[in-house]
Symmetry: C2
Subunit: 426 residues, 2 copies
């Protein structure tokens, strides 16, 4: 198992009764509940509230060994991976079966120079970076004497109107109008401008058109300016250029694209444009015996449509492969290919409003939002996270306050009288 | 007001009804509840749980303006300070009264080269650094094949047996024996060695000798090795040399010394060896009209003893100066010098045990621990923090689990096929 996200954890769990040594390698010590990452970025939740140490999650699975290491190479021929243990060194690990579940990272469609100005949102440190940028922008707007600069600091541009972009924009809109009210003396945070850009024709393109229209209306009501059909040409230190015109902005956030981590490419198989491995209907990699790819790192086709890169698909794929391996180990052959069962697709647009699509069913509004909240609380790993997130939501719902308004502290400047050659704090 | 710690906030609040513009400058956007910082370092609490945005704390005080900036110079002659606003530039701010409340930072007694190997504990980022180091040590111990290296990773040395050192050591001891149990496959975290070093004769030197003895016994029972009379000679990448012998350790934590920030020195007045400003009985700086120093940054003598650097002293000093300024503004003269009222001194030694000294009263044990917990919950800023910390404590008390076992994620390695000149994430 490489990767401790939804797919990797599901695969490891499915092997808990198998007579096998399971090794789960991840570069992080924690599993992240990705669907709520945007709430860490907007200071509603603390990082630890949507994360769980992988070791603790799986402490009771005695056949599982969790390793904190980064996979640097895969050798299909000798059936081994090369893992780099930070501070310890590199080591080869042999496998009989390899499950790659390494997920996605932000991607800038070949414009990697955008990255430094427009962080993406895939990890806890991404979320903390975004949170710090948003909060610092208001501090800078309060501090500056320059009108143009103040306007630039109070303009937030979100590139990409998929679920992440929509959820971030709505959460940010409610923060500036609620949470920050009365906190500043010279600026009015409620006058911040929040722009949601997308090159496509509508927001939430994976949902039905009628839901897109409803979400656009809701976003507009919350004060978000929705600009569709606007292709981003440049992102630089001053802002963005989109659809031919420049929007000066100090905070540009990127949710437009993701690409697979480099690992699927190491398998020597075909990958799609986003770097995802093409797998057969059993999620196996052709020509690489014993190798599977699951979750966002895999490109799985079903009924001529790609299986979407969502948590429930990742979990189902992980479970499928775990069970398949368990059966093969018992000498049985699995004949049924993987089949994704779509439990429904949801997106939340601020307080009291969510949209849901499931087959022919399309709902939106307050009740859908309650369902969204309920489903997400239940899906969190560990009872403690469920209780904590639930309480934070209740608190923030009724008070408008957000619990994690922390800007990272600047490093200490060394006292000139005390300075040695090295900095006071490394 | 320079500094948004206990003293600075208390001074600002004491001026809330005064007809005056109060400006509070801090380099952080958040106030930290320092007495529980050690629990962030040992993963019991999340950073946000002991922090509160200064703006939000004081949102209702309309005569207060909070600025996120670092003070770089003080000009006594022109009655102004120079503040550096990150990302905006420097600005002079004129004052009628200046209250310096800039607190302390870790100090290495002239051995600044120790800093990179032995982080101190004064800020949230310090606490997160320590938490990451402790958790990573167990990962490295699990990963290494070398017996000597494994022992070194599982040895934790805490330098300084004041309250911070004692509290950290006890909390760490309970983490290795409780929280981490069953999480590893090759190592047994309970066999970690925790060494508390101090050059002095006993732990908690500011408490009565009988309490020091009881605390030493308690620490020993928890599995902490207490070494007093052991002067640290070297701290390097391999461990420490103390009392002539080397202790190999991958995690050395420093709570032995603190020194004032550089600001008191800028006042042109005398400072003590730790860089604290010497003030008169009214907490004024001699020869600097309108300038006060409060909290840990001030060296205040009372009955020939220094007022201790604890939260309650900082709060009392801040309040005193705020009230004094309010009276002077009304044309009244304050005749009564500052007087510290000692409400009692406490330290906690893990679960169920604390010590308390107040005048002739000395207590220890479970009831004292309950008092400690109660007092600290009540003292937290903001109702929400009180509720959150209380719930974390209850959870962790009954389950042994800790909520924030996060090791910071390593930066993403750029995909060689995608790499531009700049890194993928800045």
């Amino acid at each position: 198992m490489v990767g401790g996200g939804f797919a990797g954890i599901a695969a490891a769990r499915a092997l808990r009764h198998a007579d096998v040594d399971v090794v789960l390698v991840d570069r992080r010590n924690h599993h992240i509940f990705q669907p709520l990452l945007y709430q860490v970025a907007t200071a509603v939740l603390s990082p630890a509230e949507i994360a769980a140490p992988i070791r603790q999650l799986e402490a009771k699975q005695r056949n599982l060994n969790v390793l904190l290491a980064e996979v640097t190479d895969v050798d299909i021929a000798s059936r081994s991976i090369e893992a780099s243990f930070p501070g310890v060194g590199d080591r080869k690990i042999a496998y009989d079966y390899l499950v790659v579940a390494t997920g996605m990272r932000p991607s800038y469609f070949g414009h990697d120079e955008f990255a430094q100005h427009a962080p993406g949102l895939k990890s806890l440190s991404d979320a903390e970076t975004i949170r710090g940028k948003i909060l610092a922008a208001f501090e800078l707007a309060e501090a500056t004497e320059d009108d143009g600069e103040r306007a630039r600091q109070m303009t937030f541009v979100l590139v990409g109107a998929g679920p992440s972009g929509v959820e971030l924009a709505a959460s940010l809109a409610q923060m500036v109008r609620g949470t920050l009210r009365g906190n500043f003396r010279r600026i009015d945070p409620a006058r911040a401008s929040i722009v949601l850009l997308d090159a496509g024709k509508r927001v939430l393109p994976t949902f039905a058109e009628s839901l897109s229209r409803r979400v656009t209306r809701r976003l507009t009501k919350l004060g978000v300016k929705v600009l569709t059909g606007a292709k981003v040409e440049t992102v630089d230190a001053q802002g963005v250029v989109a659809g031919g015109s420049r929007i000066p902005s100090a905070t540009v956030l990127w949710t437009a694209g993701v690409a697979a981590s480099p690992i699927p490419k190491m398998l020597g198989t075909n990958t799609d444009r986003a770097g995802r491995a093409l797998v057969d209907p059993f999620l196996k990699v052709v020509d690489a015996p014993g190798v599977f790819v699951v979750g966002d790192a895999a490109s799985v086709m079903q009924d001529k449509h790609p299986v979407p890169g969502v948590a429930q698909a990742a979990i189902q794929e992980g479970q499928y492969v775990g069970r398949l391996i368990a059966k093969e180990l018992k000498g049985r052959k699995v004949k049924r290919p993987f089949r994704y069962f779509d439990k429904g697709n949801m997106a939340v647009v601020g307080k009291n409003y969510a949209v849901l699509e499931r087959g022919w069913l399309r709902t939106s509004g307050f009740l859908t939002w309650l369902v969204w909240a309920f489903v997400h609380i239940l899906a969190l790993p560990q009872l403690q996270n469920r209780l904590r997130v639930q309480r934070q939501w209740l608190w923030s719902y009724f008070t408008g306050q957000r619990s994690s308004r922390l800007i990272p502290e600047p490093p200490r400047e060394a006292d000139p009288d005390l300075t040695a050659e090295r900095p006071l704090v490394p």
